[in-house]
Symmetry: C2
Subunit: 216 residues, 2 copies
DNA sequence: AGAAAATTTGACCAGTTGGAAAAATGTTAG
DNA sequence: CTAACATTTTTCCAACTGGTCAAATTTTCT
């Protein structure tokens, strides 16, 4: 009955080489379209065209629009939380936070579509991700907030709310992906080039380290 | 030919009392729906239902979906830029920035739908607002960036990039409206109540003033 | 009241959408 | 080569979408 081997896992494994390749092409296209128009705003036809195939052909690889979106969301959420996971108990507080900030900026620069996919989901009340937010994400943040608090106890950083600190890092970094049009419009063509991420990184490092008020 | 009076202005003025009232009801409903689903994701039927009327009835007051969206966008953009306009040359630098921050947080708390409407527009590349961004907005930001720079020249605040400073204020404050689900999920039911805006305001004031690194 | 104007409703339409079915075509292992 | 299987295309559909139109109803003005 059916292919000779590997039938034990019913869900996860695509069978053939073509299936794996095409699924990747489709997901790539779907990421672009979903991140730009949101779930409801995106159409299968658009995705199919971006993937260079017909709609029914696409539906041969993914049973529905939702299926594509689910796959993208889980993949993205995983990628998205990596930098926070990497916050290290052993490292130096300031250095760790600095490198977290840098990693997040790099992600906004290198994976803007993923950031927008996430933002779209949040704006709509996270209908497909609320479980992850209240489960894995909350747990991870709780854990890292405790770590940050221990750094404050040790006098390594100023005492503030660790949760809102994490929020503010998310907000400032993702802003450069999600509000890219605005950033570029305001900076103008002279300063809006690729260098803007460098500038942003420098600025944020500065802000998070020392704030605005002159010392003394 | 038509009503007796006030025909000189063709566009702006609704004629009757009912028209004014219903248009307000519709815009109110449209704001809720658009902010939640984006332009493409929102349907006239949804808006009509939220406004308590039939679709053709709604279309009697607004000629199209786009017309509603345009009205909301212009109204929102105006409201949205008010706090930045209020940055005062005469005032004390630290006090001015502090109160800008506070005003922006209050807006996120009191007008979350407007914030999400804006965010949706940005995510989609600002197809309906790009002119404003490159025109009025850029001009206003340029002007205020110069003001901030003058504060830095006078040694009132640390020297950094004024543009990215403004971005970071936008990002951190609007985050609480746009990513509300996430914020509430992470804070949990104990800390996720209405007090979260107070906590956020306190934290941000702290961060922007003094940063994380202990002095000395 | 009663005419004129404003508002609301119901029926309708053409284009789009997510998706199903089956036929046609390509690929591969024996 | 050819049968079994995988892939692609063609055709189709029912639900939904933005929007129109004329008829019915309500409000307003005299």
């Amino acid at each position: 009955m059916g292919p000779v081997s590997a039938k034990s896992k019913a869900k996860p494994g695509p069978k053939t080489r073509i299936q794996r390749e095409k699924q990747d092409v489709i997901l790539e296209a779907a990421l672009t379209i979903f991140s730009l128009h949101g779930f409801r705003g995106a159409t299968i036809d658009q995705i199919a065209e971006a993937a260079g195939m017909s709609k029914p052909n696409l539906l041969y690889y993914f049973p529905s629009k939702e299926a594509m979106h689910r796959r993208l969301m889980t993949g993205m959420l995983d990628l998205w939380l990596d930098p926070l996971r990497a916050l290290d108990n052993e490292g130096d507080a300031i250095a760790e936070l600095r490198s977290y900030l840098r990693r997040k900026i790099e992600m906004a620069r290198d994976f803007p579509r993923e950031s927008r996919l996430f933002a779209n989901e949040m704006l709509q009340g996270a209908p497909h991700a609320i479980d992850v937010l209240e489960g894995e994400l909350k747990q991870l943040v709780d854990e890292k907030a405790q770590l940050i608090e221990s750094w404050m106890d040790a006098g390594k950083i100023n005492r503030t709310d660790p949760y809102h600190l994490i929020f503010s890092i998310w907000a400032t970094t993702q802003h450069y992906a999600d509000f890219d049009v605005q950033v570029r419009a305001v900076l103008g063509k002279d300063r809006g080039g690729e260098g803007r991420y460098e500038d942003a990184a420098r600025f944020l490092e500065n802000l998070f380290m020392d704030g605005l008020r002159p010392k003394g």
